[in-house]
């Protein structure tokens, strides 16, 4: 970012992952290489890939992380809930539990998606609104006469849950943060975008602190089918724990749910209040690929170089598991930092917890930061042959690197949608 006037640091991490709530389960899970991917049941089992990583957390326990009398579960999608649990974990870990105080100088940015779970009621409504013509095996015709009945099935809550700003709005209410609030949609890079734009808010003086990250829940039939059609899932007849190995010959991924948020604030303010500074955000880059321009690698390199002015020690790449996109990502890293990726060590969480849309990159950023700080020793290596063009990344996944103060991390999300974002962080003592 040009015109950077204020230094922005990360002073807290909040996590909701299939391993559980908080950084401790994430550290343990990734250290052991524990795979949270399991066979799905019910109708979800009928849609490829048939496996996924879910958080097993009863709703009655949500009140540990936010006030369910204020934030009604009925107005929240699962992804909004995951975001609020992560934010609650973040604030508890920083001893900043909301006490009703309003903070006009603080805000909340979240990357999310456009609410797949809400379509479930739409489907039920559509079954009534549209009926299958007599004698036909497939297809539906619209019957406006049934609209009245369909509308009785709809409720205000269905609509409210489906509003795209609900994730960040809930975060605002949960925290009392009355400054900038925004939900970014559009691609898996939205979580990193939210963090990058939050940094911009602090640098420009529009906020003194921000909670930012991503939250997502993919377990909806149509969403899984859509992503499957884009070639994202591994449908091999393998044990779930062996299915996902990005950058290897074993292509394809699996869905997971997660929420990962960070507390960002101005460095001087953090020092003044005696906060533990986990790392400083050193750069953010975002580029979009225009198809057909032949700049597939160049736009990725631009994003990487904008995020990291130098050579990283740690890399938290996309971990997509898509043969062509993995190859392009490795080519970009090699172009930006050298054929051996600057000797950096890489870390991906997707083999163990799957792809969680806009939450994927924030989750891997968190894991990468913990690794660069020496608080997480990730399982090394994928034990699978590298895909052609991805050898350097597979090597990096088997390496270790410097940890502690001064260690540099870069996290990237090069999405299948052509939106590419990268964020650089340097560890503080």
């Amino acid at each position: 970012m040009a015109n950077a006037r204020r230094r922005v640091v990360i002073t807290g991490i909040g996590i909701t992952s299939p391993y559980g709530v908080g950084t401790a389960p994430l550290i343990q899970g990734l250290s052991e290489g524990a795979c949270a991917l399991q066979a799905l049941d019910g109708r979800l089992a009928m849609v490829p890939p048939g496996i996924g990583a879910r958080l097993d957390l009863p709703r009655k326990e949500f009140k540990q992380w936010f006030d369910t009398r204020v934030l009604r579960l009925s107005t929240m999608t699962r992804q909004t809930q995951l975001g609020c649990i992560a934010a609650g974990d973040l604030l508890k870990s920083m001893d900043l539990v909301p006490d009703g105080t309003q903070h006009p100088d603080k805000g909340a940015f979240l990357g999310s998606f456009i609410i797949p779970p809400d379509f479930r009621k739409q489907i039920r409504t559509a079954r009534i609104l549209n009926h299958r013509p007599e004698g036909e095996a497939t297809g539906f015709v619209q019957d406006d006469a049934r609209l009245d009945k369909a509308m009785k099935l709809a409720s205000a809550f269905d609509f409210l849950r489906a509003l795209p700003n609900m994730p960040s709005s809930h975060l605002s209410i949960q925290t009392g943060f009355q400054g900038p609030a925004c939900t970014y949609l559009g691609s898996d890079a939205s979580g990193l975008q939210a963090i990058g734009m939050a940094v911009q808010m602090i640098r420009s003086g529009q906020a003194s602190a921000m909670i930012a990250g991503g939250a997502f829940e993919p377990f909806q039939e149509v969403h899984l089918a859509w992503q499957g059609q884009r070639g994202l899932w591994n449908t091999d007849d393998l044990d779930p724990q062996d299915r996902v190995r990005p950058y290897s010959v074993r292509t394809g991924n699996a869905p997971g749910e997660a929420g990962a948020v960070f507390y960002l604030e101005e460095r001087d303010a953090a020092l003044a209040r005696g906060a533990t500074i986990l790392g400083e955000v050193t750069g953010y880059g975002q580029r979009v690929l225009t198809p057909g321009t032949g700049e597939d690698v160049a736009v990725r390199v631009d994003a990487l170089k904008a995020a990291c002015d130098g050579t990283p020690d740690w890399i938290a790449p996309t971990g997509l598991g898509h043969a062509e996109l993995d190859r392009l990502e490795v080519a970009a890293y090699a172009d930006a930092f050298g054929e051996d990726l600057g000797g950096a060590a890489a870390l991906v969480a997707t083999p163990w917890v799957g792809l969680s849309g806009p939450a994927t990159a924030p989750l891997q950023l968190a894991a990468g930061l913990l690794a660069a700080r020496g608080e997480l020793t990730p399982k090394r290596g994928l034990d699978v042959e590298a895909a052609p063009g991805c050898e350097a990344m597979v090597d990096a996944l088997g390496r270790t690197a410097a940890t502690g103060a001064g260690s540099r991390l870069i996290a990237s999300c090069f999405s299948i949608d052509g939106v590419h974002a990268a964020l650089g962080v340097t560890v503080e003592a």
Partner: protein, 409 residues
């Protein structure tokens, strides 16, 4: 916003709305105090006890393309005609930031309906196309691809403040140096899904949308796509572009109050406005007129008027309260496109030197009797319009404010 040393100006506009294709058609309708609302034809409105909406009748249904993207394409047509950017300029230094409330929700609903008869969609070209539209950021990607923009690209999902926040982010991108020029705005189609939602929460008007009227009882939905080209002032002058106005300041603030009801005191909106004033280095006395959100709902207009009352208290007491206008009674509430639509109409008021009227307003909310809602038709303001304050608010308690300022040639 970041550095004040970089002034960001608007050099082009493209739009389609209930008033037809183009900003000229929209401005002519608004200026004349006409209504662009018309009988609903996209689907049967009977169950909603409604008759009119702001449908863009100039846009016929096009099979195979979600209506939201149809609208976006038409706005892009006009924008590309008048932006005057060369192909060489449209590169990694050009960004796209769009806002939308529900994107291609109609197409997505269709996918879900189809899915009932074909649980695992076949990997056909048609299937792939339909699923591509399901992606919420598809509109932004479509536009970026069409104009060849390779810079920062994002989709803001903030309901009724989406496109005003998109404009704010666009200014930030230019001021921070991350982009040299940005296409920003918003798009929204009139859909049964959203209409049903507004019906369920009781936010629809029984008749007219009556901004700030004592008898207001709800809003009327509309549809639009509105795009603006933003760039550095020095770049615009260097290439001899017509500068329409400057986005001089912006503010964004959350109520952190309630999921549906706004802060009844308008605290969030007040903070957003004061932040925008600070950015633009102006005060209330510099505002020549206020383009209010004015949805015609009891809560929104009540909240807005309280925020305005506090900010402009001294001026009101001196009988110098700037006129307050609202355009939604003309175009309907266009949700994700509303902020950009309001901004474009404010631009035209600046360049034409005419104060647009507030249509369907007859008797103000109690306590606002002294305010000028420009109900007596279009008129030349007593002094040149140099600065417009444009405000928007959304469910979930999000508020935005933009300061749009005249730029001398």
């Amino acid at each position: 916003m970041a550095s004040h040393s970089v002034r960001v100006v608007v050099t082009g506009v493209g739009m389609v709305s209930a008033a037809g294709r183009g900003a000229d058609a929209a401005w002519a309708t608004l200026r004349n105090g006409d209504s662009a609302l018309s009988a609903i034809e996209l689907f049967d409105p009977a169950p909603y006890n409604l008759e009119v909406a702001g449908e863009a009748k100039a846009v016929a249904r096009e099979p195979g393309l979600d209506r939201a993207f149809q609208l976006l394409n038409i706005a892009a047509d006009e924008l590309l005609q008048n932006a005057g950017w060369s192909a060489e300029q449209l590169d990694a230094s050009t960004g796209v930031v769009l806002g939308t409330c529900q994107g291609a929700i109609e197409g997505a609903s269709g996918i879900h309906r189809d899915y009932q008869s074909r649980p695992v969609p076949a990997a056909t070209d048609a299937g792939r196309k339909a699923f591509a539209e399901y992606r919420p950021g598809h509109g932004t990607a479509l536009l970026a691809e069409r104009i060849g923009a390779g810079g920062p690209c994002s989709t803001v999902g903030m309901v009724c403040v989406s496109s005003s926040v998109a404009l704010m982010h666009a200014v930030d991108l230019i001021r921070s140096g991350e982009a040299r020029r940005v296409v920003a705005g918003g798009f929204e189609a009139f859909t049964q899904f959203v209409l049903t939602g507004f019906h369920c929460i009781g936010a629809l008007a029984s008749g007219e949308l009556r901004p700030f009227d004592v008898d207001r009882d709800g809003t009327v939905l509309g549809e639009a796509a509105v795009l603006l080209t933003l760039e550095r002032e020095d770049d615009a002058r260097h290439r001899g572009a017509t500068i329409l106005a400057e986005i001089a300041g912006a503010g964004i603030a959350a109520d952190a109050f309630h999921m549906t009801a706004p802060d009844p005191k308008g605290g969030g909106l007040e903070r957003a406005i004061r932040q925008a004033f600070d950015e633009a280095s102006i005060g209330p006395a510099d505002v020549d007129y206020i383009s209010a959100h004015g949805t015609g709902t009891v809560f929104n207009d009540g909240m807005e008027s309280k925020a305005f009352s506090r900010i402009f208290a001294e001026l009101a007491e001196a009988g110098q309260m700037p006129p307050v206008t609202g355009v939604k009674s003309v175009f309907g509430h266009t949700l994700g496109a509303a902020g950009a639509l309001d901004a474009v109409m404010a631009l035209r008021a600046l360049t034409e030197g005419v104060l647009p009227p507030t249509v369907a307003h007859s008797e103000p909310i109690e306590g606002l009797e002294a305010w000028d809602f420009a109900t007596d038709g279009p008129k030349a303001p007593p002094a040149p319009v140099n600065v417009v304050l444009s405000t928007n608010s959304a469910f979930g308690g999000n508020n935005s404010a933009l300061i749009i300022r005249r730029v001398e040639a």
